[in-house]
Every structure is written in C-alpha cells, then in structure tokens.
C-alpha cells in the first residue's frame, strides 16, 4: 500500500518522460495531474484504513536490501507522517494545476515535479535511516533542475546555491546516520532498533549537532537560511509552492523523527538553545520581511519566521507541543503555498512583484479583485486570525511551549505580531490605493488561476474551524515519541473513539 505512494508517481514520471512528442503541453499537464491525483486517492485510502488509536507504525513493509550493512527497504507510517503525506500529495496536485499551460519542455518538467513527490513521500514513510536519506537526496536533484531550467533571471546562481547548501545538509545527516548505526554497534539502519540504542551522552551530542545543522539548513534556521529567499525568488510559482509547502517540512520532520526521536537525552540538553535559536529566527525573518520590496521575498522571509515556531515547539518537547508541531507544519504548508500561488498570479498578470510599482490592484473592474481578496485572507491566516488554521496552530505552539520556555515563546509571539505588519504593508501598497497607471488593463484572471487558491482557502477555513481533524491523527503516537520508556502508560487519548 505504501509502496504505491512511491511507485505511482515514480512510474508516472517515467511514463511522462517517454510520452510521444505530439502531446501538447496542456495534455501532458493533465496526465501529470491525473497521476498525482491517483497518488492522492491512494493516500486517502491509507488515511481511511489508518487507525489513529494504534500506537505503533502501521502498513509496514520490509524488504531486505543490503544485508551486509543492515539496510532494508522498510516503510511504515504513524500519525505524524500521515498528515504530512496528505499535505504533500494535496499540494503536489495543486502545484501541478497551477503550472503554466504552455511551458517549454513540458514532459521533463512534469516528470521532475512527480519525482519531487516521490522523494518527499518516500522520506515521510521511510523507517530505515539510509532509506530516508536516499529519498531526502532524491528530492534535491529535480528541484535543482526545476529552478535551473524554468527559473527567473538569476536562476543559475540560486539553483547552485540551493544545491550546495542542501548537499552540505545531506552530508551532515548522512554522517550522523552512519555514526549512530556504527557506533551503536547494531549493524542496522532500522529506526525502531536504533531508538533503543542508548549511546553515551557525548556521542549523542555530537551526532545531534550534526543533525541539527543538517536539518537546520533545510528548515531553514538563521544563519543557514540565505539559500531560501534566492531559491524562492528564482523558482517558478508551482515550484515555490512545493518548496515552501512541503520541502521545508522535511527539515522539521527530520528533526522530530530522528533528532528528537533518536537522541532524546541530548535533545533535552540542547533544547533551551534551540528555543533561543527559534526566537531569533522568528524575529529575524519577520524584521527582514518588513524591509523587502519584492512580494515573493516578503513571503519567503515570512516562511523563515513561521518555520521557527515549529522549531520552538519541537524544543519544548511536551505532548502538546509535538502535536502543535504537526499542526503548524500543516498550517504553514497550506498558507505559504496559498501566498506563493497568489503572488504568482499577481506576477503573471502584471509582470511585476515590486511593491513600489504595484498599486490599487483591488480595483473591481480593471484590477485583480478576487486575487486581492484572497491575498488579504491568506495574509490574515498567516498572521493568525482566528477561524483559520494558522491561529489554531500558533495557539497550540505557544500554549505548548510557554510552560517550558516562557521568554522565547513571548518573543515568538512578537514575531506573530510582526507578521501582520509586513503583510499589511504589502497589501496596503499593492492592493489598496488608486490603480497605478503602469498596470491598467490587466488580462482577466481565469478559473484556472482561482481554483487552487479557493481550494486552499477552503481547507484553511475548515481546519481552522474544526482542528480536531488535524490533531486526532497524531495524538496517540506523540507520547511514545517523547518518552520511549513509558509506552505502556500511554493510554488511548480519545475515549470517544471517533
């Protein structure tokens, strides 16, 4: 079942790559969407069969691969992975839908987009450290090519920067994984086995620091973040959506699963520093965002600020804060994807993303009124206005982290306050005021440019009003993650059994 999640897009990518030339770009697009939707449907089936009350991994598949070093093809999911899997397959469909209809080299483009899906899904369900690493690296190559081929003016610079940063991140992660596998003497990369490895504290610390930097680059945390704004600015809209929506989540997922999961002792030792790093990152991202002139950069820096909340709640390591991690991951994935999509629409219609040039786009006759209204909505969701998913997630993050790290939490809340500042400044300049003469008579926004935004907005609202649908998947597994010795004590948390 889980292999299908990897194989469908993988085979689909291969299929797309060898599609005959006479298929037009938009036909290729529809084939790609169909394949991604199939993966999404499989995901829904998995979600339907998933039992949220069961504590251990489900749908496990084990195939021995390289016996000599104990490397297995081992898949399995728990609630933490499941919600992220959903996010990934959903956003892939939307990103494919929002791709331009007449792209150059469509077959390569859509094949690469599907390959990203393979990499991310695989990483979320891999239960073997090396297998995770393989998928983690797999996703880098298509992304590099997507930025380098279909990017903006400085695409070569941005793509290379992304590649080098992520490669360094990969090396550190690999080093840490090899370290734990060899130093523990277990001769296996199996996640469950290594969890009980019980390494000495100093070794844990060294390995954890390698992991922290490795995943810290991916999240990204200040000061390892500079690849992100460049990559976002140069990437095309769908790639930005995937990058912000799911790829950054590999970093937080990695920290949660491997950093916290494998090195709990060292993790709690470093946690206060992580909380401080999160607060710095949140404020840094927010204050940089205020000064940006490019709409995409505003959103990119806001991503840095909001991803820091995830780090904060990871550092707190309470049951509530781990649940909050998942919520904030999903919330940020949905909201940032929506924001990047809308900025992309503005760019496509006006040819500019400069907040000093654009003005009055809310104009109902000649502007982009629906896009503008949706942008206001997305900005408010990001700023944590209740009724939308961002509020629930941030409230849980703050409520979960406050008892452990009150001061960093308060600073992160200031970061939330600043979110409103930079988004409002952007909206006020771009959408309010009189329509600037430069951008009059814009091409009309078709339904193709609205559907992904409306779909995202609806999900943002639904999860904001009914957050239980987001929380219930991971309730049971969280306790096990942060306190491995007390597995027996974790009772079924949802006695109503919905």
């Amino acid at each position: 079942m889980l292999s299908a999640l990897i194989l469908i897009p993988f085979i689909g990518a291969g299929l797309l790559a060898v599609l005959p030339n006479r298929f037009s770009s938009s036909q290729v697009k529809w084939v790609a969407i169909a394949i991604a939707s199939l993966a999404f449907v499989v995901n829904i089936i998995v979600g339907y069969q998933f039992d949220p009350n069961q504590i251990s991994f489900q749908f496990e598949e084990v195939i021995p691969w390289i016996d000599g070093i104990g490397f297995n093809y081992h898949l399995g999911i728990d609630g933490l992975s499941l919600s992220l899997l959903f996010l990934n397959s959903f956003l892939t469909v939307l990103a494919l839908m929002s791709s331009d209809r007449d792209l150059p080299r469509p077959r390569l483009y859509y094949a690469l987009m599907l390959l990203i899906n393979v990499g991310v899904s695989g990483a979320f369900i891999a239960q073997d450290l090396l297998l995770f690493f393989l998928f983690y690296e797999l996703e880098i190559i298509p992304l590099y090519l997507l930025i380098a081929i279909w990017g903006g003016k400085r695409r070569a610079y941005a793509a290379t920067k992304f590649l080098i940063y992520t490669a360094v991140s990969g090396i550190l992660i690999l080093a840490a994984f090899l370290g734990i596998a060899f130093l523990s003497g277990a001769n296996t990369f199996d996640y469950e086995t290594l969890r009980s490895a019980g390494l000495p504290f100093e070794i844990q610390l060294v390995l954890l620091i390698a992991l922290l930097i490795g995943f810290g680059i991916k999240i990204p945390v200040f000061p390892f973040h500079t690849w992100l704004p460049d990559a976002h600015v140069e990437a095309s809209t769908p790639v930005s959506m995937l990058l912000a929506g799911v790829l950054l989540k590999l970093g937080t997922y990695g920290l949660l699963r491997f950093g916290l999961g494998l090195f709990l002792e060292a993790w709690s030792y470093l946690a206060p520093w992580l909380a401080v790093a999160a607060a710095i990152s949140a404020l840094y991202g927010a204050s940089c965002a205020i000064a940006q002139q490019d709409m995409k950069k505003v959103v990119a820096y806001s991503s840095i600020g909001h991803m820091a909340f995830i780090l904060l709640s990871l550092a707190a390591t309470t049951r509530l804060s781990i649940i909050a991690t998942i919520c904030q991951t999903i919330a940020h994935g949905l909201i940032s994807a929506l924001l990047f999509f809308l900025v992309g629409v503005v760019y496509k219609k006006t040819g500019s993303r400069d907040v000093n040039q654009l003005r009055g786009l809310l104009n109902p006759e000649r502007g982009l009124p629906v896009t503008g209204s949706l942008t206001i909505l997305a900005a408010m969701a990001s700023a944590g206005i209740p009724g939308m998913v961002g509020f629930v997630a941030e409230f849980l993050v703050f409520r979960g982290s406050f008892p452990i790290f009150p001061i960093p939490t308060l600073f992160c809340m200031v970061g939330t306050g600043l979110t409103a500042v930079y988004f409002l400044l952007m909206i006020n300049r771009v959408f309010f005021g009189r329509l600037s003469d430069m951008v009059t008579y814009l091409p009309p926004v078709g339904w193709g440019d609205r559907v992904p935004a409306i779909a995202l907005s609806i999900i943002i609202f639904i999860l904001g009003i009914q957050p239980n649908w987001m929380v219930r998947w991971s309730e049971a597994q969280v306790g096990r993650l942060i306190a491995p010795e007390t597995v027996a004590q974790v009772t079924v948390l949802n006695p109503k059994g919905d």
């Binding site: 080098i164 840094y284 205020i290 109902p364 849980l396 939330t416 409103a420 309010f432 929380v471």
Partner: protein, 619 residues
C-alpha cells in the same frame, strides 16, 4: 429552562454570518443583473431574524438564573478547549442591543450608501461585524472572546478600508489594524499564560480559579496587565487611542457601530475579566490610571477638532475611559450602565452627523451653519443625543451618574472631579459643535440642504425615541444591566450634592460653549498661548508624531538594518566562501602540469607529513 429559543441562542450570531456569506454572489460580481440591493435586503432580513430570536429568548429567560451551553472544540494532549455560551439576561440583553443597533445602522446604510457601487460588499462586512459582536455578547469563554475580538479587528480593518482607493483610508485601515493587533497579541500572551497556569478559559471558571489561585503577585501583575491590553486597544484608550480617530475615514454606518458597540465590546470583555484583576492591585490601578488619562486627554482633544466626526470620536474614548475607571474600582454594574447609556446616545449622535455629511458632502464644521430649520429631525436627534450623553435630568447618563454616587459604591472626591471635568468638556464640545452646525447664518454649502430621506430618517427617529425611553430600561428591567444587585434602592450618598455638582458642571460647559467666540473662516486665535493649546489638542497631543519618532521609526530602522545585514553580511559571508573556493580552485589548477615528477613530489611530501603526524601526534 428548556425553551427552544433559549437553547438555540447561539444561532443568533450565525444568522448574521449567513447573511454575510449570502452577499458573496453580489460582492464577487457573479450576479450583476439585479444590482447589489438584494444583498442588502438579505442582510437586513437576517438581522431582523436575529432581533426577533433575541427578543423572544430574552422574554423567556427573564428572571431565570444564567446557564451555560458548552461545545467541545479542541482536544489535544492535556489541553481541552471548549467554547461555552452564557445565556443570562445580561448576555442576551447585550445580544439584543447589538442586533437592534445593527439593524438600525443597516437600515440607515440603505440610504447613506445608496450611491455606492459596492453596496453588497459593505453589507457583507457589516454582517460579519455583527456576527462577531453578537458572538462576543453571549460568549462565556475567554478563548472564544479572544477569537472574536481578533475577528473584530479584521472586520474593522476591512470596513475602515472600505473605500480603499483613498490615501487617508489606506493609512487609517492599516493603523486601526496594527494598533488593535498590538493589544490583541499582548492579550493572547495573557491567555496563553493563564491557560498554562491551569486556569480554565471560561469566564465562569475563571472566578473560581482566582479564588484558589496559587499565583505569586509579580506574575499576577503581569498577567493582569496583559489581559488589560486587549480591551485597551479595542476601547481606544491611551496609548492605543489614535486608531478610532483615524477610523473616521470609513463609511459612517460602520462608524455608528464602531463608536457605540465595538468599543463597548472591548469593555464588555474587560468587565468579564474583572475577577482576575482582583488578584493584582497594580492591574486595577493601571485600569484607573489609563482610564483617567484617556478621559481627560480625549475630552481636551475633542474640543479642538473641526472634523465633525472626530469631535465625537474622541469623546467616545473619553467615556470609555470612565468605564475603565469603573472596572478598575470594581463597580461593574456602573460600567454596564455607562456602556449602555453611552452606546445609545453615541449611535444617535453619529446618525445625526451622518445625515449632515450625506447631504452636504463635507465634514468640516467651520463650513456649516443654520441647519436647524432645514433639517429638523437631524437637529432633534443631535440635541437628544447630546442630552443623553451629558447627563441632563431624565436621560440615561444622568441616572448612571446618580447611581454611581447614591451610596452603594465607595467613591471618592477625585472621581467626582473627573466626572465633572469630562461632563463639562463634553457639554462644551457638543454645544460648540451644535452652534457651528445648526445655529448661526447658513454657509454657502448649507444653504439649500433638505432633510434626509426615509431610509435614514426612520432609524434616526426610532433611535431618538429609544434614547428618550432608555432611562426606563435600568428601572424596569434591572437584570438586563446587572447580574447582581438591583440598582433601584438608593442610600445616603457619601459625597453629598454630587449630582447637583455634576449637573452644574454640565451647565457650566454649556454656558462656556455658548459664550465662546467661534470664528468660521479664520479659526486660529491670535494669542500665542491659545494657539499653542489649540494645536496641542487638535493634533492629539502630538501622539502620532511621537509614535512615528519612536516605535515606528525603531521597527523600520531595525528591519532595514536586518535586511542589510542579511544581504551583505550573512549572505556576503556565504558568497565569500563560494568565491574563496572558486579562486583557490583556479589557483590550484596550475599545479596540474602533467609532469610525473611533480605529482610524485606532492605525494611524497604529503605522506611524510602524515607519517610525522601519526608518529608525534597520536601518542
């Protein structure tokens, strides 16, 4: 009490929300054939439903104790958040007040916004606004109230920014949102802390939690101050007071709601939080100090304004300051009464000036005059509203202040002084505006002004009647405005002659207002010290400039500095590493000469170094 209407009280906010959602086809331009009017009618209908449902529920629940309806909302790990709704005469009464004033304001908007092409969007926003307000009225959960306050912040932003093409509106909407947001975020900090310290987040639980509270006094103080911040921003109290004044750029029917009910919503939450403030005397003192400063300062600012809307908006801040003082002193019933009397009188005043603005498309009072004979209904509304505000015998504010001093409450002389000051300046200001607008010779812009049409006149006259009848409410239905004590029984006043003194202060204000020399075309006084004070008050004590020079400047420069650091230092370092790599590679490539001897030499040296290192370094 298992009455259907009472049990489904929580539906009332949903009605307005449905109305708001129903306007979407028109506001998005999907339906163009009918024009935007049907959206307005739908919203009026939904608000009427809300009114009717509310009044039936109110009549059924009369003389019954309050009850809570609890809805489970979120369950995550050890945190359970439930949204509870409080059904009591107080809350359902507030609900009814919201629905009633909202209905009148929307009816009024039918005339006022007649020519606006995005009428549907306006009604959608008003419905949204009303939903949040009526939700607040019946909410018994601090969490829900916080959420609704934030929604109010958002809808204020959208309503103030309704005419988004005008430059002043753009800044006004931004300032309104950000100022309130500052308060909201600090309130959120307070709520997170409160919840983390183990308090249940419903108001009824808070009370019992406070009684058994284990908090140290320092924490309690910070907590109290954080909880004050939210209402502080909502009620436009110093130092977060300027947004209300700027928000006057928005459409007037929303201004009616904003100046009467929205500011009251903040105070309503404050009143419900009052048990927490008992924990910390500093928080109570802070309430009294903030309220006093705002009451005095805003009264002075109002006197110097020439924009007709702003003359009234500052006075809103001043009266809400009195409410803060009342809450700080623990006089919750008085706070309710003040809110009620102020809300009705202020919304009437705003309807009255709205009619003037609608007819002469101008807001500058020095360009008006002689309107009394041309707009009799409007004039009556203004006079009645003013009388309701300053405490003239049979009207609301008079009874409120009488109650405050009737001996049930511990009051002192400074409070009397404060009330006299606010009352005198309020009377002076209203008299001044009345003279400029309604008396005197007609000015060029006011010469041929008709009375407004029925969509605006009907709600205005209705509200005039309501203001006149308002004083009977606390007499006849004491439970509406007070959960605890019936207010009727008077005892011996501690401060004697207090009421006489307050009325005298109002009279004094009127007399000064009438004697004041009012110039029109040339409103600047000649004396330097007078000019100084005029500027000081007219520019709101230069608070805005102070903000621009401090907090706004700080945020702007820090963010510029950060962006610069990011671009040139952090990213610069990264690029430097890149450059170093490239250059060292470039330099090293000259070593690839193709000569075997050179390679052998390199290998020999490296091996030698390794051998040395292993020999000496590893023992």
């Amino acid at each position: 009490m298992n009455d259907v209407f009472v049990q489904t009280c929580w539906l009332v906010p949903i009605y307005s929300l449905i109305g708001s959602v129903l306007t979407l086809p028109w506001s998005l331009g999907l339906v163009r054939r009918t024009g935007p009017r049907p959206a307005a009618y739908l919203n009026l209908l939904m608000t009427l439903f809300a009114c009717l449902h509310g009044s039936i529920a109110l009549s059924r629940i009369w003389n019954h104790p309050s009850q809570q309806l609890v809805f489970d909302w979120l369950q995550a790990a050890d945190l359970t958040i439930s949204l509870s709704v409080d059904i009591s005469p107080v809350s359902v009464g507030a609900l009814e007040l919201v629905a009633g004033i909202s209905f009148l304001a929307q009816l009024y908007a039918l005339g006022y916004m007649e020519k606006d092409w995005s009428l549907a969007r306006f009604y959608g926003l008003m419905g949204f606004f009303e939903a949040a307000l009526s939700g607040l009225a019946i909410s018994d959960s601090l969490f829900l109230s916080y959420a609704l306050l934030e929604v109010l912040t958002l809808s204020t932003y959208l309503l103030v920014g309704f005419w988004y093409a005008q430059p002043l509106v753009v800044t006004a909407a931004r300032d309104a949102f950000l100022t309130k947001r500052v308060g909201d975020i600090i309130l959120l900090m307070g709520i997170v802390a409160l919840s983390a310290y183990g308090a249940g987040l419903s108001f009824s639980e808070l009370q019992s939690w406070v009684e058994t509270s284990p908090l140290p006094s320092g924490t309690a103080t910070w907590l109290g101050l954080a909880l004050i911040a939210g209402p502080l921003g909502k009620c436009a109290q110093f130092p977060l007071n300027l947004w209300l004044d700027e928000a006057m750029e928005g459409p007037n029917p929303a201004g009616i709601m904003r100046n009467s009910i929205v500011v009251s919503a903040g105070a309503y939450v404050l009143i419900k939080l009052q048990p927490v403030f008992i924990l910390s005397p500093i928080a109570e003192d802070a309430l009294i100090i903030v309220g006093t400063i705002t009451a005095i300062g805003a009264s002075l600012m109002a006197v110097a304004q020439i924009d007709i809307k702003r003359t009234l908006s500052h006075s809103t801040s001043a009266y809400l300051g009195l409410v803060f003082v009342a809450v700080g002193l623990g006089h919750v019933d008085i706070a309710f009464l003040l809110l009620f009397s102020h809300a009705i009188a202020k919304s009437l005043l705003f309807m009255s000036i709205g009619s003037i603005i609608y007819n002469i498309t101008n807001q500058n009072v020095t360009e008006m005059g002689g309107l009394w004979s041309r707009m009799p209904a409007t004039t009556t509304a203004f006079v009645v509203g003013s009388a309701g505000l300053v405490g003239v015998l049979p009207l609301g504010m008079f009874w409120t202040w009488t109650r405050w001093f009737n001996g049930n409450w511990a009051v002192s002389w400074w409070l009397l002084g404060l009330l006299m000051f606010v009352n005198a300046l309020s009377a002076l200001n209203l008299t001044r505006v009345f003279r400029l607008v309604f008396l005197g010779d007609p000015q060029p812009k006011t010469r041929r002004v008709p009375e407004v049409g029925w969509p605006m006149a009907v709600p205005m006259v209705t509200l005039t009647a309501m203001t006149l009848l308002g004083p009977w409410v606390p007499q006849k239905w004491p439970y509406w405005l007070s959960a605890t004590a019936p207010l009727g029984n008077a005892e011996l006043p501690i401060v004697r002659y207090s009421i006489a003194l307050i009325v005298a202060s109002g009279l004094l204000g009127c007399i000064v207002g009438f004697r004041l020399v009012l110039r029109r075309a040339w409103a600047r006084p000649l004396k330097v010290w007078l000019r100084f004070f005029q500027d000081l008050f007219a520019y709101d004590f230069y608070i805005e400039k102070a903000y621009n020079l401090t907090i706004v400047w700080a945020v702007a420069s820090i963010s510029k500095l950060m962006a610069w650091l990011d671009r040139y230092v952090v990213d610069g370092a990264v690029n430097l590493v890149g450059l170093v790599t490239v250059f060292s590679g470039q330099a090293l490539r000259y070593n690839v000469t193709g000569r075997g001897q050179f390679y052998v030499l390199t290998i020999a040296i490296a091996t030698g170094l390794l051998a040395l290192w292993s020999f000496f370094g590893l023992n």
